[in-house]
Protein backbone atom coordinates (compact mmCIF):
# COMPACT_ATOMS: atom_id res chain seq x y z
CA UNK A 1 0.00 0.00 0.00
CA UNK A 2 1.45 3.32 -1.06
CA UNK A 3 1.51 6.38 1.15
CA UNK A 4 -1.20 8.20 -0.84
CA UNK A 5 -3.52 5.19 -0.60
CA UNK A 6 -2.95 5.09 3.14
CA UNK A 7 -3.83 8.77 3.47
CA UNK A 8 -7.05 8.31 1.47
CA UNK A 9 -7.85 5.32 3.70
CA UNK A 10 -7.35 7.41 6.84
CA UNK A 11 -9.52 10.12 5.28
CA UNK A 12 -12.29 7.58 4.72
CA UNK A 13 -11.98 6.43 8.34
CA UNK A 14 -12.18 10.02 9.56
CA UNK A 15 -15.31 10.71 7.48
CA UNK A 16 -16.83 7.44 8.67
CA UNK A 17 -16.04 8.26 12.31
CA UNK A 18 -17.71 11.67 11.92
CA UNK A 19 -20.69 9.96 10.30
CA UNK A 20 -21.07 7.47 13.15
CA UNK A 21 -20.72 10.30 15.67
CA UNK A 22 -23.54 12.26 14.01
CA UNK A 23 -25.74 9.19 13.57
CA UNK A 24 -25.55 8.05 17.19
CA UNK A 25 -28.88 8.62 18.95
CA UNK A 26 -29.42 12.24 19.96
CA UNK A 27 -32.39 14.54 20.29
CA UNK A 28 -31.81 16.50 17.07
CA UNK A 29 -32.80 14.61 13.95
CA UNK A 30 -31.15 16.92 11.41
CA UNK A 31 -27.68 15.85 12.50
CA UNK A 32 -28.55 12.20 11.85
CA UNK A 33 -29.36 13.01 8.22
CA UNK A 34 -26.03 14.82 7.82
CA UNK A 35 -24.36 11.79 9.42
CA UNK A 36 -26.05 9.43 6.96
CA UNK A 37 -24.82 11.53 4.02
CA UNK A 38 -21.29 11.52 5.46
CA UNK A 39 -21.51 7.75 5.93
CA UNK A 40 -22.45 7.27 2.29
CA UNK A 41 -19.47 9.48 1.35
CA UNK A 42 -17.11 7.38 3.49
CA UNK A 43 -18.39 4.15 1.91
CA UNK A 44 -17.98 5.67 -1.56
CA UNK A 45 -14.37 6.66 -0.85
CA UNK A 46 -13.59 3.16 0.47
CA UNK A 47 -15.13 1.44 -2.57
CA UNK A 48 -13.38 3.77 -5.02
CA UNK A 49 -10.14 2.92 -3.27
CA UNK A 50 -10.87 -0.79 -3.70
CA UNK A 51 -11.85 -0.48 -7.36
CA UNK A 52 -8.75 1.63 -8.07
CA UNK A 53 -6.57 -1.21 -6.80
CA UNK A 54 -8.05 -3.68 -9.28
CA UNK A 55 -5.33 -5.50 -11.17
CA UNK A 56 -7.18 -8.22 -13.03
CA UNK A 57 -10.78 -8.50 -14.20
CA UNK A 58 -12.92 -10.74 -12.07
CA UNK A 59 -16.30 -10.81 -10.43
CA UNK A 60 -14.88 -11.69 -6.98
CA UNK A 61 -13.83 -8.12 -6.32
CA UNK A 62 -17.24 -6.80 -7.34
CA UNK A 63 -18.92 -9.23 -4.94
CA UNK A 64 -16.45 -8.26 -2.23
CA UNK A 65 -17.32 -4.58 -2.72
CA UNK A 66 -21.07 -5.23 -2.59
CA UNK A 67 -21.03 -7.44 0.50
CA UNK A 68 -18.48 -5.30 2.32
CA UNK A 69 -20.65 -2.24 1.72
CA UNK A 70 -23.75 -4.09 2.94
CA UNK A 71 -21.91 -5.33 6.04
CA UNK A 72 -20.57 -1.89 6.93
CA UNK A 73 -23.90 -0.13 6.34
CA UNK A 74 -25.79 -2.68 8.41
CA UNK A 75 -23.19 -2.65 11.21
CA UNK A 76 -23.41 1.15 11.38
CA UNK A 77 -27.20 0.88 11.67
CA UNK A 78 -26.94 -1.79 14.41
CA UNK A 79 -24.86 0.62 16.43
CA UNK A 80 -26.80 3.80 15.66
CA UNK A 81 -30.47 2.81 15.36
CA UNK A 82 -32.50 4.07 18.28
CA UNK A 83 -34.91 1.12 18.34
CA UNK A 84 -33.35 -2.15 19.57
CA UNK A 85 -35.58 -4.38 17.46
CA UNK A 86 -34.31 -2.73 14.28
CA UNK A 87 -30.76 -3.08 15.59
CA UNK A 88 -31.32 -6.82 15.90
CA UNK A 89 -32.79 -7.05 12.39
CA UNK A 90 -29.88 -5.07 10.90
CA UNK A 91 -27.58 -7.48 12.73
CA UNK A 92 -29.13 -10.31 10.69
CA UNK A 93 -28.10 -8.35 7.59
CA UNK A 94 -24.54 -8.09 8.96
CA UNK A 95 -24.48 -11.86 9.49
CA UNK A 96 -25.73 -12.58 5.96
CA UNK A 97 -23.15 -10.23 4.40
CA UNK A 98 -20.35 -11.73 6.49
CA UNK A 99 -21.48 -15.23 5.46
CA UNK A 100 -21.25 -14.17 1.81
CA UNK A 101 -17.74 -12.82 2.43
CA UNK A 102 -16.79 -16.17 4.00
CA UNK A 103 -18.02 -17.95 0.86
CA UNK A 104 -15.75 -15.64 -1.15
CA UNK A 105 -12.90 -16.81 1.09
CA UNK A 106 -13.70 -20.47 0.39
CA UNK A 107 -15.00 -21.12 3.90
CA UNK A 108 -18.38 -22.50 2.85
CA UNK A 109 -19.00 -24.65 5.92
CA UNK A 110 -18.34 -21.77 8.26
CA UNK A 111 -20.64 -19.50 6.22
CA UNK A 112 -23.54 -21.92 6.57
CA UNK A 113 -22.77 -22.48 10.26
CA UNK A 114 -22.70 -18.71 10.79
CA UNK A 115 -26.13 -18.24 9.24
CA UNK A 116 -27.63 -21.14 11.20
CA UNK A 117 -26.09 -20.27 14.56
CA UNK A 118 -26.33 -16.48 14.40
CA UNK A 119 -29.32 -15.66 12.23
CA UNK A 120 -31.15 -18.79 13.31
CA UNK A 121 -30.46 -19.05 17.02
CA UNK A 122 -28.71 -16.10 18.62
CA UNK A 123 -30.73 -13.33 16.97
CA UNK A 124 -33.97 -15.15 17.81
CA UNK A 125 -32.91 -15.20 21.47
CA UNK A 126 -32.15 -11.49 21.28
CA UNK A 127 -35.55 -10.80 19.73
CA UNK A 128 -37.28 -12.75 22.49
CA UNK A 129 -35.51 -10.72 25.18
CA UNK A 130 -36.26 -7.45 23.37
CA UNK A 131 -39.93 -8.31 23.22
CA UNK A 132 -39.88 -9.42 26.87
CA UNK A 133 -38.19 -6.28 28.11
CA UNK A 134 -39.36 -3.67 25.65
CA UNK A 135 -41.12 -0.70 27.11
CA UNK A 136 -43.84 1.19 25.38
CA UNK A 137 -42.58 4.04 23.25
CA UNK A 138 -38.95 4.97 22.90
CA UNK A 139 -37.28 5.38 26.31
CA UNK A 140 -34.74 8.14 26.87
CA UNK A 141 -31.77 5.76 27.09
CA UNK A 142 -32.38 4.74 23.48
CA UNK A 143 -32.58 8.32 22.27
CA UNK A 144 -29.46 9.68 23.97
CA UNK A 145 -26.01 8.16 23.52
CA UNK A 146 -23.46 8.21 26.33
CA UNK A 147 -20.16 10.02 25.58
CA UNK A 148 -20.45 9.62 21.78
CA UNK A 149 -17.41 11.77 20.97
CA UNK A 150 -15.07 9.82 23.25
CA UNK A 151 -16.32 6.46 21.97
CA UNK A 152 -15.91 7.46 18.31
CA UNK A 153 -12.42 8.81 18.99
CA UNK A 154 -11.37 5.52 20.60
CA UNK A 155 -12.79 3.57 17.66
CA UNK A 156 -11.00 5.82 15.16
CA UNK A 157 -7.66 5.46 16.94
CA UNK A 158 -8.06 1.67 16.98
CA UNK A 159 -8.85 1.70 13.25
CA UNK A 160 -5.84 3.87 12.43
CA UNK A 161 -3.54 1.58 14.42
CA UNK A 162 -4.85 -1.60 12.75
CA UNK A 163 -4.96 -0.18 9.21
CA UNK A 164 -1.34 0.96 9.45
CA UNK A 165 -0.35 -2.66 10.08
CA UNK A 166 -2.79 -4.29 7.67
CA UNK A 167 -1.36 -2.38 4.70
CA UNK A 168 2.00 -4.03 5.23
CA UNK A 169 0.65 -7.59 5.06
CA UNK A 170 1.69 -9.83 2.17
CA UNK A 171 -0.98 -11.14 -0.17
CA UNK A 172 0.59 -14.60 -0.27
CA UNK A 173 2.94 -16.47 1.99
CA UNK A 174 5.97 -18.02 0.33
CA UNK A 175 6.76 -21.62 1.09
CA UNK A 176 9.64 -22.04 3.51
CA UNK A 177 9.11 -18.70 5.21
CA UNK A 178 8.42 -18.50 8.91
CA UNK A 179 4.76 -17.76 8.27
CA UNK A 180 4.16 -20.75 6.01
CA UNK A 181 2.50 -23.73 7.65
CA UNK A 182 3.03 -27.34 6.79
CA UNK A 183 -0.04 -27.42 4.61
CA UNK A 184 1.10 -25.89 1.37
CA UNK A 185 -1.05 -24.67 -1.51
CA UNK A 186 -1.23 -28.18 -2.96
CA UNK A 187 -2.02 -30.05 0.23
CA UNK A 188 -5.38 -31.82 0.45
CA UNK A 189 -6.36 -29.85 3.55
CA UNK A 190 -6.87 -26.73 1.51
CA UNK A 191 -7.69 -28.02 -1.93
CA UNK A 192 -11.15 -28.12 -3.38
CA UNK A 193 -10.80 -31.83 -4.15
CA UNK A 194 -11.65 -32.83 -0.60
CA UNK A 195 -14.14 -30.13 0.13
CA UNK A 196 -14.15 -27.47 2.77
CA UNK A 197 -16.56 -29.22 5.13
CA UNK A 198 -14.53 -32.42 5.15
CA UNK A 199 -11.30 -30.51 5.76
CA UNK A 200 -12.72 -28.51 8.67
CA UNK A 201 -14.37 -31.63 10.06
CA UNK A 202 -11.13 -33.57 9.92
CA UNK A 203 -9.24 -30.81 11.72
CA UNK A 204 -11.90 -30.48 14.41
CA UNK A 205 -12.33 -34.21 14.98
CA UNK A 206 -8.65 -35.17 15.02
CA UNK A 207 -6.30 -32.34 15.89
CA UNK A 208 -8.72 -30.33 18.02
CA UNK A 209 -10.87 -33.09 19.48
CA UNK A 210 -10.01 -32.05 23.05
CA UNK A 211 -11.02 -28.47 22.27
CA UNK A 212 -14.26 -29.80 20.84
CA UNK A 213 -15.00 -31.64 24.09
CA UNK A 214 -14.20 -28.52 26.11
CA UNK A 215 -16.52 -26.52 23.87
CA UNK A 216 -19.30 -29.00 24.56
CA UNK A 217 -18.74 -28.78 28.31
CA UNK A 218 -18.72 -24.98 28.03
CA UNK A 219 -22.07 -25.02 26.25
CA UNK A 220 -23.48 -27.29 28.98
CA UNK A 221 -22.21 -24.94 31.70
CA UNK A 222 -23.72 -21.97 29.90
CA UNK A 223 -27.04 -23.76 29.58
CA UNK A 224 -27.15 -24.60 33.29
CA UNK A 225 -26.01 -21.08 34.12
CA UNK A 226 -28.67 -19.44 31.98
CA UNK A 227 -31.40 -21.61 33.52
CA UNK A 228 -30.15 -20.90 37.04
CA UNK A 229 -29.95 -17.17 36.32
CA UNK A 230 -33.43 -16.83 34.89
CA UNK A 231 -35.03 -19.05 37.57
CA UNK A 232 -33.78 -16.84 40.35
CA UNK A 233 -36.48 -14.77 42.00
CA UNK A 234 -35.37 -11.15 42.14
CA UNK A 235 -37.37 -8.60 44.06
CA UNK A 236 -38.27 -5.66 41.91
CA UNK A 237 -37.09 -2.42 43.45
CA UNK A 238 -39.92 -0.52 41.83
CA UNK A 239 -42.64 -2.68 43.36
CA UNK A 240 -40.90 -2.67 46.72
CA UNK A 241 -40.57 1.10 46.92
CA UNK A 242 -44.11 1.59 45.68
CA UNK A 243 -45.52 -0.50 48.50
CA UNK A 244 -43.73 1.47 51.21
CA UNK A 245 -45.31 4.30 53.13
CA UNK A 246 -44.65 7.65 51.50
CA UNK A 247 -42.11 8.93 54.00
CA UNK A 248 -39.75 5.95 53.77
CA UNK A 249 -39.24 5.76 49.99
CA UNK A 250 -35.59 5.48 49.07
CA UNK A 251 -34.33 5.38 52.64
CA UNK A 252 -33.01 1.83 52.58
CA UNK A 253 -31.71 -0.53 49.97
CA UNK A 254 -33.96 -3.49 49.34
CA UNK A 255 -32.40 -6.80 50.49
CA UNK A 256 -31.23 -8.94 47.62
Amino acid sequence: MTASTAYILYLAFAIGAAAVYLMLPRPERSKAIAGALLGVAALAVLITLLVARVTEPGSTRAFFCIFAAVALFAAARVVTHNRPIFSALYFVLVVLAVAALLVLQEAEFLAVALVIVYAGAIVVTYLFVIMLAQQTGSPVYDRQAREPLLAVLIGFLLMAAVAGQAGALPDTVEQGSVLATQTGPDSPASSIAEGNTAAVGRAVMTKYVVVLEIAGVLLLIAMIGAIALSKKKVPSEQVRTARKPLGQVGKEVAPY
Partner: protein, 100 residues
Protein backbone atom coordinates in the same frame (compact mmCIF):
# COMPACT_ATOMS: atom_id res chain seq x y z
CA UNK B 1 -9.23 -11.49 -5.99
CA UNK B 2 -9.10 -9.14 -3.01
CA UNK B 3 -5.94 -9.58 -0.99
CA UNK B 4 -5.76 -10.17 2.72
CA UNK B 5 -5.37 -6.53 3.69
CA UNK B 6 -8.87 -5.69 2.42
CA UNK B 7 -10.38 -8.41 4.60
CA UNK B 8 -8.31 -7.38 7.61
CA UNK B 9 -9.34 -3.75 7.25
CA UNK B 10 -13.00 -4.74 6.81
CA UNK B 11 -12.82 -6.90 9.93
CA UNK B 12 -11.16 -4.07 11.82
CA UNK B 13 -13.87 -1.61 10.76
CA UNK B 14 -16.58 -4.01 11.96
CA UNK B 15 -14.70 -4.46 15.24
CA UNK B 16 -14.31 -0.70 15.71
CA UNK B 17 -18.00 -0.08 14.94
CA UNK B 18 -18.95 -2.68 17.55
CA UNK B 19 -16.57 -1.07 20.05
CA UNK B 20 -18.11 2.36 19.45
CA UNK B 21 -21.56 0.87 19.95
CA UNK B 22 -20.54 -0.92 23.13
CA UNK B 23 -19.03 2.22 24.60
CA UNK B 24 -21.70 4.72 23.63
CA UNK B 25 -25.07 2.96 23.72
CA UNK B 26 -26.99 2.83 26.98
CA UNK B 27 -29.42 0.02 26.21
CA UNK B 28 -28.04 -3.25 27.60
CA UNK B 29 -29.41 -5.31 24.69
CA UNK B 30 -27.86 -3.04 22.06
CA UNK B 31 -24.55 -3.13 23.95
CA UNK B 32 -24.47 -6.91 23.63
CA UNK B 33 -25.56 -6.75 19.98
CA UNK B 34 -22.50 -4.52 19.46
CA UNK B 35 -20.25 -7.23 20.90
CA UNK B 36 -21.76 -9.63 18.37
CA UNK B 37 -20.76 -7.19 15.60
CA UNK B 38 -17.24 -7.27 17.06
CA UNK B 39 -17.36 -11.09 16.85
CA UNK B 40 -18.20 -10.83 13.14
CA UNK B 41 -15.11 -8.68 12.57
CA UNK B 42 -12.93 -11.20 14.40
CA UNK B 43 -14.36 -14.11 12.37
CA UNK B 44 -13.56 -12.31 9.09
CA UNK B 45 -10.00 -11.71 10.30
CA UNK B 46 -9.43 -15.30 11.41
CA UNK B 47 -10.76 -16.74 8.15
CA UNK B 48 -8.69 -14.27 6.11
CA UNK B 49 -5.51 -15.44 7.83
CA UNK B 50 -6.61 -19.05 7.41
CA UNK B 51 -6.87 -18.41 3.66
CA UNK B 52 -3.52 -16.61 3.56
CA UNK B 53 -1.80 -19.67 5.00
CA UNK B 54 -3.90 -22.11 2.96
CA UNK B 55 -4.60 -23.88 6.27
CA UNK B 56 -7.89 -24.98 7.71
CA UNK B 57 -6.97 -24.30 11.34
CA UNK B 58 -8.28 -20.74 11.21
CA UNK B 59 -11.70 -21.99 10.18
CA UNK B 60 -11.71 -24.53 13.00
CA UNK B 61 -10.82 -21.67 15.35
CA UNK B 62 -13.69 -19.59 13.95
CA UNK B 63 -16.02 -22.51 14.63
CA UNK B 64 -15.02 -22.43 18.30
CA UNK B 65 -15.54 -18.66 18.21
CA UNK B 66 -19.15 -19.41 17.25
CA UNK B 67 -19.47 -21.61 20.34
CA UNK B 68 -18.12 -18.84 22.56
CA UNK B 69 -20.49 -16.34 20.94
CA UNK B 70 -23.45 -18.62 21.64
CA UNK B 71 -22.36 -19.09 25.26
CA UNK B 72 -21.89 -15.35 25.69
CA UNK B 73 -25.26 -14.53 24.18
CA UNK B 74 -27.08 -17.07 26.37
CA UNK B 75 -25.51 -15.94 29.63
CA UNK B 76 -25.67 -12.23 28.80
CA UNK B 77 -29.35 -12.41 27.91
CA UNK B 78 -30.07 -14.36 31.12
CA UNK B 79 -28.33 -11.61 33.07
CA UNK B 80 -30.19 -8.89 31.17
CA UNK B 81 -33.53 -10.51 32.03
CA UNK B 82 -32.45 -10.64 35.68
CA UNK B 83 -31.36 -7.00 35.71
CA UNK B 84 -34.53 -5.91 33.92
CA UNK B 85 -36.66 -7.71 36.47
CA UNK B 86 -34.92 -5.86 39.28
CA UNK B 87 -34.91 -2.29 37.98
CA UNK B 88 -37.63 -2.39 35.33
CA UNK B 89 -35.37 -0.66 32.81
CA UNK B 90 -32.63 -1.63 30.36
CA UNK B 91 -30.58 1.51 30.98
CA UNK B 92 -26.95 0.66 31.77
CA UNK B 93 -26.60 3.98 33.61
CA UNK B 94 -28.96 2.64 36.26
CA UNK B 95 -26.18 0.29 37.35
CA UNK B 96 -23.46 2.94 37.47
CA UNK B 97 -23.51 2.52 41.27
CA UNK B 98 -21.41 -0.60 40.63
CA UNK B 99 -18.52 1.64 39.55
CA UNK B 100 -17.90 2.20 43.24
Amino acid sequence: MPGISEYIILGAILFALGLVGFLSRRNLIVMFLSTEVMFQGVIINVVAFSRLHRAVEGQAFALFLLVIAAVEAGLALGLIVLLHRRKGTLDAEEWSVMRG
